[in-house]
């Protein structure tokens, strides 16, 4: 149970690549949080900084108020499960799991007891004599996790642990991880680029992009109240439609002009008064756009239809913008057919030119 505080953490690699910039994060004791973002956003760098495998260029890392920024990795009480497992290929499962305890010079008996305890927890008692090359991917992963858990780390770091598993195994392991956290009650930091994993597993999600924290909030708020255009476009499947518009005033009414269509937003006058004649971006989730054969806000040509079980994702093209919408499974338009699309004003998200959200209902 450790509370982690990251203060203005910055990491610039040799050669000038800025991997992380002024990163601030407060992780409650015992919380399960995710670092979510596209490749190269600085997630793994953050993890390695917390583990002590990298030194930050600037900033501090505090564990329970104690500055550990330059403390050696083994003195931090941190366990890290690597994406590619990092199981030692020349050692058996048992030797792998016991390695950390051996380095810490525990007695043979204690090592044995702890290895067996963790092996039972992860149900790998029967593969302890196997060498890694004889293990399947799920076993490798469990050994990797066991290696880390056996040293009883205060903080558990997981670097995309599910990314090498196939779909069904991934779902199963996800459920087991969730269960494991209830048993261990540890502070867990989970790195992933998969939003489903992040949203389902964690108490809080930190969405990252280009080495910067975009939003740190509960999964629900991340989805419903995205702080900016990046988070809005990154979370949700299919992603939110983002359409550039300009706000124009006509007499008493306020209009949003997206070239292809205009919508009356007079009711949002209080919010948009400062944005008249300025560029904004509107966001609308595909779930909130309804395609129909007649009547709606704008017309667009069907570009593709994807069947996903109970629903169809319809992508349509109007001038130079692509709109994704979701229709019932029996609504199957032809390609290039002209459809009407409609949505309600109160489902809109509006972002300013810098990408910050200025309005949602």
């Amino acid at each position: 149970m450790t509370k982690i505080l990251l203060e203005d953490l910055t990491k610039i690699y040799e050669g000038g690549t800025v991997a992380l910039e002024d990163f601030n994060l407060e992780i409650e004791s015992g919380a399960f949080i995710s670092l979510l973002g596209p490749s190269g956003c600085g997630k793994t760098t953050t993890l390695k900084l917390i583990a002590g495998l990298l030194d930050p260029t600037k900033g501090r890392i505090l564990f329970d108020g104690e500055d550990v920024t330059y403390t050696l990795p083994q003195q931090r009480g941190v366990g890290l499960v690597f994406q590619d497992y990092a199981v030692f290929p020349h050692m058996t499962g048992y030797e792998n799991i016991s390695y950390g305890l051996k380095v810490r010079k525990l007695s043979k008996k204690e090592i044995r007891d702890r290895v067996i305890e963790v092996a039972n927890l992860l149900e790998i008692g029967d593969i302890l004599d196997k060498k890694p090359r004889e293990m399947n991917i799920s076993e490798l992963q469990r050994v990797s996790l066991a290696r880390t858990l056996v040293i009883k780390p205060k903080v558990l770091l997981l670097d995309e642990p599910l990314s090498n598993l196939d779909a069904s195994l991934r779902v199963r392991t996800r459920i087991e991880l969730k269960k494991l956290q209830r048993i261990l009650k540890q502070t867990i930091i989970y790195v992933t680029h998969d939003q489903v994993e992040a949203l389902t597993l964690s108490d809080k999600v930190a969405v990252m992009s280009m080495g910067k924290l975009q939003q740190y909030d509960t999964p629900k708020n991340i989805f419903l109240k995205p702080k900016n255009k990046f988070v809005a476009g990154f979370i949700g499947s299919p992603p939110m439609n983002l359409i550039p518009c300009s706000v124009i005033q006509k007499d008493e009414s306020l209009m949003m002009d997206a070239n292809t269509f205009k919508i009356d937003v007079t009711e949002l006058k209080d919010v948009l008064n400062d944005y008249v004649n300025k560029e904004v971006t509107i966001g609308i989730r595909p779930q909130d756009i309804t395609p129909s054969l007649k009547g709606g806000i704008f017309k667009a040509k069907v570009y593709s239809v994807e069947h996903i079980g109970m629903e169809n994702i319809i992508t349509a093209k109007a001038d130079d913008i692509m709109i994704k919408s979701i229709a019932q499974k029996d609504f199957i338009p032809n390609l290039d057919e002209e459809l009407w699309f409609k949505f309600e004003i109160n489902k809109l998200y509006i972002f300013d030119k810098e990408g910050e959200r200025i309005w949602r209902s």
Partner: protein, 293 residues
């Protein structure tokens, strides 16, 4: 697309014929060396040649180790006292063996520095290789002058250092490649377990690259074992390596092909033994237990 057959390809008889021909061509020089070493002087360069020693003898081996005038007379060099070859085996073992060991050890440390700690970037690696870009003869003359100043001429450490220096670039390059293949995460994982970076190199990465490093050592040992130029120019009789010993059988009374062949056969044996000893480490096939996503 061509279908890939899972069946074992059938090797036709014609392929065997070709393989056997290639084998004969490859083995013939060794065969010739072997039979020459058992031939008496009259058969060494007889025409037509003897394809097998007509009257096999061990005299060629005998004269290598014993300065017995009656024996040297039999190989046609009655009045020449040859230095016994025993010393040259010992000298070669010291100079080539330690030189190689030094090159591999220092090269491995450098390879870790480059591969794991980003030392010197690519510039360093190219600089290291540049040491080998000029022909060695370029270095010999200044080395002779320099060595005579510091008293390194004709000493074990003098020649050994030259061997280490000139084989190290290979060691750095080959071993760096081996280290690059081992996922960095293995060491990072060990760091979290409490190992220092240096311990992680030697306790985690070393067992995984051992086979490759030993193969590198064998490769460099072969180069250094048969090195002639530096040995010839930097020694004068205090240190005699095998290739230099080989030349003393080119006498005013003619070239003693038999003893030369005998020495060559004996000189190969230590390398073969070393190769057999390290063979069990050479088996590759460790997948490093890591799976790339």
């Amino acid at each position: 697309m061509k279908r890939v057959s899972l069946e074992k390809p059938k090797i036709g008889i014609h392929l065997y014929v070709i393989l056997i021909l290639v084998l004969i061509i490859a083995i013939f020089p060794i065969y010739w060396l072997t039979i020459t070493s058992f031939k008496p002087k009259a058969e060494w360069i007889a025409s037509p040649p003897y394809w097998f020693p007509n009257s096999p003898t061990l005299i060629d081996y005998y004269v290598l180790f014993f300065s017995d005038p009656s024996a040297t007379a039999q190989v046609g060099a009655a009045f020449i006292a040859f230095k016994p070859a025993t010393k040259s085996f010992l000298d070669s073992a010291i100079v080539a063996g330690l030189g190689t060991a030094l090159a591999v050890f220092a090269g491995m440390l450098a390879a870790f520095a480059v591969s794991r700690h980003g030392f010197g970037g690519n510039t360093f690696l190219v600089l290291v290789l540049m040491l080998r870009m000029a022909p060695p003869i370029v270095a010999v003359i200044p080395l002779i002058v320099f060595y005579s100043f510091i008293g390194f001429t004709d000493t074990y450490h003098g020649l050994l250092l030259v061997y280490a220096t000139f084989s190290m670039p290979y060691a750095v390059w080959i071993i760096k490649g081996l280290i690059d293949e081992v996922p960095r995460e293995l060491e990072e994982s060990a760091r979290l377990d409490g190992l220092t970076p240096l311990q992680a190199h030697f306790k985690v990465t070393w067992p995984l690259i051992r086979g490759g490093v030993l193969a590198t050592a064998l490769f460099l040992l072969i180069l250094n074992w048969s090195e002639y130029l530096f040995a010839l120019m930097l020694t004068r009789g205090n240190v005699i390596t095998l290739p230099v010993q080989m030349t003393i059988y080119q006498t005013y009374a003619g070239v003693l092909y038999g003893p030369q062949a005998a020495l060559a056969i004996l000189a190969v044996i230590p390398l073969v033994i070393f190769g057999i000893v390290i063979r069990r480490f050479l088996a590759r096939g460790l997948t490093f237990g890591a799976v790339k996503g």
